[in-house]
Amino acid sequence: MLSSALVVFREVFEIVLIVGIVMAATQGIPHRKKSIYLGFGGGILGSALVAIFTSRISEFADGMGQEYFNALILFTASAFIGWTLIWMKRHAREMRAHFTKVGQDVASGRLPFFSISFVIALAILREGAEIALFSYGMLATGQSPASLAAGFTIGMSGGILVGVLLYFGLLKISTRAFFQITSWLLVFVVSGMMAQGIGFLTSAGLFESLSFTVWDSSWLLEDGTLTSDGLKALVGYTAQPSAIQLIVYALTLFSLFFFLRFSGNPKKVSISS
C-alpha cells in the first residue's frame, strides 16, 4: 500500500506543480474557473484514453510513438502557456483594473479560455495516464483493491495538499507588480517543458549529433529524488542535460524573456468605469 502511495504521490506531485502555478498565474483572467474545470475534466478523461491506447501509441513511428506523443504534448503545452503569458502581458492593465468584458472577448476568441484548459489538461494527461496504468497493473496482479485504493487515496491527497499549499502560497507572495512572480515561474516552466520535449525527440533518435550529455550534476542533485522531481517540473532540471536540450532551454528562456519584456506596450484602451 505504501509503495502504491509513493508512486501515485510522485506522479500527482509533478502535475500539481504545473497546475498550481498556472492557476495562480492566471488570476484575474475572466472566466478562468470554467477553463480550469474543463481542463481538469479533459485531463482526467484524456488520461484514461491514453492509458487504454498506450500500446497503439507506442507502435507508431517504428516504436517511437510514445516519444513523439510525449514531445508533442510538451511542445503544445509550451505554446499554450507561452501564448497565455503574452496575452496576460498585453492585457495587464485591464486585468489590474479588474476589467471584465463578458461574452465579447470569449466570442471573439481573444480570451485564453481554451489555452488554459489545454494547458491543465495536458499537464494532467501524461502523468495521469501513468497513474491509470499503474493502478490497473496493481489490480491485475492481485493487489487487494482495498489496499490499492488506500494507497491511491493517500498518494493523491498528499499530492493535492502540496498543490493547494503551493497555490495559496503563490497567491500570497505574488506581488502587484506589473508582471507577477507566478508568470516568471511559468517562463521557466515552459523552458523546462521545451527541453524535456526535445529530450523525448532525442530518445526517438533525432538530433543525434547534439544528443551527447554536456554535464552530470548527480553529485549535486540526483534525478529521481523529490527535490529533483520538483525542480524538473518547475525549471526542467535534469542531472544529465544533452546539448540540444541546453540549446532549446536557453533559446526558449531568452525568446520568452524578450517577447514579454518588450512586447508589452499596452495600447491605450478606454476602460469603461
Binding site: S58, G63, G82, W83, L133, A140, S203
Partner: protein, 151 residues
C-alpha cells in the same frame, strides 16, 4: 505569436534532422520483464555504439522502463513490447528500473570499450559496478558484430 513560435520550432526541427548522423542498423538486445523482474538484469554492451533495447513485458500488468542515467522512460503495457534506443554510451554502469515495481524490477547496462570485452559470458568485474545490484548469473555479454572495412 503562437503560429510564429510553432513555425520556428518546426523549422529548427526540420533543419536539425538533416544535421544528424547517418542511419545504420543498431545492435539489438532483448530484455524481458517477468514477475516484475528484468531478465537479464545486467547487460554488457560495447561502449561508443548505438544500441537498440527491445523490452518485452511478459507480465500481464504494465511497467514503466526508466533510467535517469540513460535519460529514458517508457511505459510498456502488459503483454506488449517497446523499443528503446540508447547510445553511443561512454564506459560505465547505467542503472535502470521499473517504476511501477521498483523494489524488484532493477537492472543495469554496463558499457565497456570493445577491446576490453573478451569472450567471457555472463561475468562482469566486481570493480566495475558501484551500484547495489548484485551480479546475476544470467548477465548477458553482447559483442558487436565485426564492422566491415574498419580497423
Amino acid at each position: 505569436m503562437k503560429t510564429l513560435k510553432r513555425l520556428v520550432a518546426l523549422g529548427f526541427l526540420g533543419a536539425s534532422v538533416f544535421v544528424t548522423g547517418s542511419v545504420f542498423a543498431e545492435s539489438e538486445i532483448v530484455i524481458r520483464i517477468k514477475d516484475h523482474k528484468f531478465e537479464p538484469s545486467v547487460v554488457n554492451v560495447p561502449a561508443g555504439e548505438k544500441i537498440k533495447l527491445v523490452v518485452h513485458n511478459d507480465d500481464p500488468s504494465p511497467e514503466e522502463f526508466e533510467s535517469h542515467k540513460l535519460n529514458r522512460e517508457k511505459v510498456i503495457q502488459g503483454g506488449s513490447k517497446a523499443v528503446i534506443l540508447i547510445g553511443p554510451l561512454e564506459e560505465g554502469a547505467y542503472p535502470f528500473f521499473g517504476e511501477f515495481n521498483e523494489s524488484t524490477a532493477k537492472g543495469q547496462i554496463i558499457a565497456k570499450d570493445a577491446n576490453t570485452v573478451d569472450g567471457a559470458s555472463g561475468g562482469e568485474d566486481g570493480a566495475q559496478s558501484t551500484d547495489s545490484i548484485e551480479p546475476s548469473s544470467d548477465a548477458v555479454t553482447f559483442e558487436a558484430p565485426p564492422l566491415e572495412g574498419n580497423q
